[in-house]
Subunit: 483 residues, 2 copies
């Protein structure tokens, strides 16, 4: 179906008109995903999956560099195992998928399709850990998980999704705490460096923490519509699981002790975050580090110099394909203008146009997706300029996102003003909270804003009055409407 | 638990005494896997999973180089979709796991946990393909699948396993056939180059082909106990699925046509093949290309030169860790002898010993796992010698496996002799078969040997009499007892 460029972009709802529809139009139109004939599930198409592969590669390197090894645990968890930890089952039981039949027979015990793997992994760890010498045990797995969500949205919340989940065991409480914070730091650095997404980090409140955790740490990002997205979490599990799964070790002092654990994860929802942080009315804007195609080369073909131009652009692919993810779009059934629009919509960071005039001037015309800037590059400079431009686009996307977040972060003491901002502007709102779950819930009921995190530096001060109840000595915490 | 080296190896059953127990002892003792508390499922531990990661990386590169892109399709398949293709459902329905409840409610339609993904993928392809311009569609996915197996064995046959499955769509029959054969070729080259496993390739018989395929091609490897293992398959699906899932495209000639398809896969059972092809009484023998640890460095510590030796071995890791997967075993609670045994059992291709004498002579003592050969290497030569040695070990493992296969491949015309070989020596037996499924079944009932494949070059000859019925003009095909 050949349409001209304008029609093409017309099919995407303008972002400010309907953010939610803009998002859905984009993920479908750019062929990142498609809805599958299973409730709440999607097919991740090659263009979306390639982003996930880049995320995996870049994050896996960091997970291994911090001493973790990958492994794989079963998809199915016997229902009785999930039920061992009281908070954990309470949190997850309502949203699990259950296997009741296998091989034409009814099972004697129902199997839960993993919503997260603490239960099955702890049951194995109990067998593997005997002595302090077996610790720390630092394992990660990349896999699919299933949570029967009531309302779903591509990448952000689907019944099945892809993620990594780290599960570590330590001999002391301090070590577990250190690990949980270390991995939160890895996530923050990863999100900011590779996804160009600035995040705030801190502690979750009791009501927002992981079901079964002692403490949950989080990184939170601000989307372009002013709503927050939880982009990664790291849990200090304390001894909650080791006590019920009997993970004990003989310590150096010959005492048998329960181990200390952590778990931490990020998921394919990060793809949604990339779209919602950087995208605009023309489509996606992918950070070069994770873009499936970093540079697209479009030949501008005239009847006269057709052969020459096509030969030249094909040389490009060979010349740079080792170091840059470069694609030559030499399809003949589409016009150059149509291609410009399509690749802009697909968020390719840099476009190179090669026409007869470029050839005669010994170079190419480059167009940046982040700024729209158009300029000529001499051929000889390409090997240096291309990587430098990609780095610059990466930095600029981060800078733009950071500026947006700073512009949309408010410090507010007054509840009425708070309500106005939540209603009209959204964004992060730093406001004092006394620590009472009742106040947290009251604010949520009034405004739908939740506490995204308690920042690490947050200190109570006498004149900080709780937004909801007015109590003194409250701590500033981040509120936002969230996905 | 510190034991001496002899005890350690004693815990593994000798290979020729009980091959099956030797295998189970090894996978557990080397910490490749452990049994999980779910029927027929296992946890793949880091040492086993690292082999899978290397397999993935090396094969994924080839899959991409042949033009395929990765994607991800849902784990769950509505039962009605699986039932569309008659042979497919007949083959898979008896061994599926069924999800009947989600989010505390009974589902209106039961969901099959994918045993393979043709049904769900074809339902999506029907939406994505309209025109010849959309073809060929070349997609692969890495994922977990579930088949409710009655009898299981770690890596070789488990209820859940990991694999890749390619699913391609073409506009002509010839193209699909070419693709199926091309990917079989990729598998063969991969198995022989990276896993050092020689394979024979050919066509499956009707009774052994994939449920729903037009034709199945296979690569078959010979294990050290003389049994065959199907190591990878590639299917020409014909139009079987496109007709029931309505995958039609408008061809260049403006005619609406049903597409031609292929699918192909290899799984984590390749890990089992590596163990059973190369292992010996001392344990695993891992091909360097997929070994999690290619070189282990063991310090020989004396009280006097303790510090010097430890410093030197740690330098090794830094020096070579960029290009070689090298590990320094400087654990203090184990003796050098114990470590030698453990790393031999774990199949590390090359061991370097560094003691005071090695230091004074300016080098290291090297021991090859494949030959047991022990020799001195001067430090200056290490950067060249290490990669060269690993290459040589890789080639030698392939050579040994090929020699074993050649020694255990028989060409037999006489059925009584055939039965003797199956009974006493096993191995591959090339014997004439008339093509009648009845004869194939008769032989299987008599001997448990199955036709592993019909070699590509197989031509009927007048004096080749079918092993079972004596009919003339039979074709030589490979028989074996198989896993």
């Amino acid at each position: 179906m050949v349409t001209n460029g304008k029609d093409f972009v017309k099919e995407v709802t303008p972002r400010d008109e309907d953010f939610s529809q803009w998002y859905l139009d984009l993920v479908l139109k750019t062929e990142m995903m498609d809805y599958a004939p299973v409730r709440g599930c999607m097919a991740i198409r090659p263009y979306g999956y390639a982003i996930w592969e880049n995320i995996q590669q870049l994050l896996d390197k960091r997970i291994k560099a911090t001493g973790h090894k990958n492994a794989y645990f079963p998809l199915f968890i016997p229902e009785s195992l999930l039920q061992k930890e009281a908070d954990h089952v309470e949190g997850f039981a309502p949203e699990v998928a259950l296997v009741t039949h296998g091989g034409d027979e009814k099972l004697t015990e129902r199997l839960v399709v993993r919503p997260t793997s603490e239960a099955i992994i702890c049951s194995m760890y109990a067998r593997w850990i005997q002595s302090y010498r077996d610790l720390p045990l630092l394992i990660n797995q990349w896999c699919n998980v299933v949570r029967w969500e009531k309302s779903t949205r591509p990448f952000l919340r689907t019944s099945e999704f892809l993620w990594q989940e780290g599960h570590t065991v330590h001999s002391t409480e301090e070590e577990a705490e250190e690990e949980a914070l270390k991995m939160l730091g890895v996530y923050k650095e990863f999100a900011e460096t590779e996804l160009a997404i600035p995040v705030i980090s801190g502690l979750k409140t009791e009501s927002e923490k992981f079901a079964g955790a002692l403490r949950t740490y989080t990184i939170e990002a601000l989307m372009a519509d002013g709503r927050a997205l939880q982009a990664g979490t790291s849990h200090n599990l304390g001894q909650h699981f080791s006590r019920v799964f009997d993970i004990q070790f003989l310590d150096k002092d010959k005492q048998l002790k329960y181990a200390w654990q952590t778990s931490w994860g990020v998921s394919s929802r990060l793809i949604g975050a990339i779209i919602m942080v950087h995208g605009d009315d023309r489509g996606l804007k992918l950070p070069p580090r994770v873009a499936p195609v970093q540079v697209v080369v479009v030949p501008i073909i005239t009847k006269k110099q057709r052969k020459e131009v096509l030969e030249r652009v094909r040389e490009f692919a060979d010349e740079f394909s080792g170091e840059i993810r470069i694609e030559v779009d030499d399809r003949e059934e589409y016009s150059a203008g149509w291609k410009f629009n399509e690749w802009e919509m697909k968020g390719v960071p840099l476009r190179l146009e090669v026409g007869p005039r470029d050839l005669s001037q010994g170079g190419v015309t480059a167009v940046r997706r982040d700024t729209g800037e158009k300029f000529f590059i001499n051929e000889k400079e390409l090997p240096k300029r291309l990587p430098a431009l990609l780095d610059d686009i990466q930095s600029n996307l981060f800078k733009q996102a950071l500026e947006f977040r700073e512009k949309n972060t408010y410090s507010v003491d007054d509840y009425e003003k708070f309500k106005d901002i939540v209603q009209e502007k959204r964004g992060f709102i730093l406001s004092p909270w006394c620590g009472d779950p009742g106040c947290e819930e009251g604010i949520k009921n009034d405004t739908k804003a939740t506490i995204r995190c308690i920042p690490f530096a947050a200190e109570p001060s006498e004149d900080a009055l709780c937004l909801f109840c007015g109590q003194k000595n409250s701590k500033p915490v981040y509120f936002a409407r969230a996905y």
